[in-house]
């Protein structure tokens, strides 16, 4: 028998192997198709929060005046983005040491157009923040600090807050933190 001729015995054996293997492969395929979830990927956004309070000095001579005390854990920021969010309205302003600059406010929001209306306002916010960042960069050069804090009322939805945070990050700021809600009291 030449090499090229088929051996019927061998062909039969191969056929016997392939059918159960194909069976098993289909089982596996069904399993993976059933658990496959092609949802959108989850990503991370860094949140700027201060480190834990420094240890207190053991005696008076060891007190370091530059060390932040436990009671003063607020992160210093260039300015605060103030968000006022309610069921049917959403407003944003930028507050710094000197003055408050109102970015805008949308009223009469419905659940259907909420994302779109807020999106437009946040585009304006992003442009204003980018301008501020650019102006500061020109003034301070490489030493520019880029801390922003977001202050929102306690009923603000997390999605709206993250959208504001997103606008800050996209404007070039890398350290975005949360300020306590003005109407919030921790017990």
């Amino acid at each position: 028998m030449s090499r090229r001729e088929k051996d019927p015995q061998l062909e039969t054996d191969l056929g016997r192997v392939i059918v159960p293997m194909l069976d098993m492969s289909f089982q596996l395929l069904f399993f993976f198709v059933a658990i496959f979830n092609p949802g959108k990927a989850e990503g991370k956004m860094a949140l700027n929060l201060p480190a834990t309070g420094q240890a207190k000095a053991k005696d008076l001579q060891n007190v370091d005046p530059k060390t932040i005390s436990d009671a003063n854990l607020e992160v210093p920021s260039d300015f605060v983005v103030v968000v006022s969010s309610h069921e049917d309205s959403f407003g944003v302003s930028i507050k710094d040491a000197d003055k408050a600059d109102k970015v805008g406010e949308v009223r009469g929001i419905t659940p259907q157009n909420r994302r779109e209306e807020i999106g437009k306002l946040l585009d304006t916010l992003r442009e204003k923040l980018a301008e501020r960042y650019k102006a500061k960069q020109e003034k301070e050069g490489l030493k520019v600090t880029d801390n922003v804090k977001i202050e929102a009322n306690k009923k603000t939805k997390h999605a709206d807050l993250v959208a504001v945070m997103d606008a800050c990050l996209r404007a070039g700021y890398t350290q975005v933190g949360f300020a306590p809600p003005p109407d919030f009291q921790q017990q």
């Binding site: 056929g15 492969s25 991370k44 956004m45 603000t156 997390h158 993250v162 990050l169 809600p181 919030f184």
Partner: protein, 194 residues
């Protein structure tokens, strides 16, 4: 009469099926225990992909639901006791002792404090054991501070809050977590690629 023995060639079919199996195996993510589907994350264009390096750190997931309750993962302490097996911090069931007449809000807050303190102590015990030191509760002074710092440096707090959760609840949880000594925090969002 000649009998035909023609059979379909199954080998290309097997090839194709195995290719598909490989694809689904490679793209399937089994690590879902920390990512409850009930929590619908907000969208963000600036969200970055999660790096593999982060997996080396301890990660404390704060899965905040729409109503302010929190889903948590059970954690085992150094003597083998499994804590928080029910997997939820809510305003209904006191974790420690029965609070007669306490409001749901107060119960939730005391549960949160108990949870964060317990998790911190368990992680601190692990660090102390790695350093071959006595248990965390027995440490004092600079040793205790060193362990606290190590826990804060090695633990990433991952905030996964539902998009309709109130900022007041989220802020309350974050600050309670921070007061215990955790400081590395990140917010999770669904990557918006538009």
């Amino acid at each position: 009469m000649q009998i035909s023995h023609a059979e379909p060639n199954l080998i290309p079919l097997l090839d194709l099926v195995l290719q598909l199996v490989m694809f689904f195996m490679a793209t399937t993510n089994f690590a879902r225990e920390n990512n409850p589907e009930a929590i619908k994350l907000p969208l963000a264009q600036s969200a970055k992909p999660i790096e593999d390096d982060e997996l080396k750190n301890e990660r404390l997931f704060l899965n905040v639901e729409e109503n302010g309750d929190m889903r948590v993962r059970s954690i085992m302490d150094s003597i083998g006791t499994q804590w928080f097996v029910e997997g939820r911090i809510n305003g209904k069931t006191p974790l420690q002792k029965k609070d007669e007449g306490a409001s749901e809000l107060l119960i939730r807050r005391s549960n949160l404090d108990f949870y964060f303190n317990k998790v911190h102590d368990i992680l601190a015990d692990k660090v102390a054991r790695d350093l071959r030191w006595p248990p965390y509760k027995k440490l004092t002074g600079s040793d205790k501070e060193k362990v606290d710092k190590e826990v804060a440096d090695k633990t990433i707090v991952v905030l996964r809050a539902h998009q309709m959760a109130d900022y007041g609840d989220v802020y309350d949880i974050l600050t309670r977590c921070q007061k215990v000594g955790f400081s590395r925090m990140q917010v999770r969002a669904t990557m918006d690629t538009k």
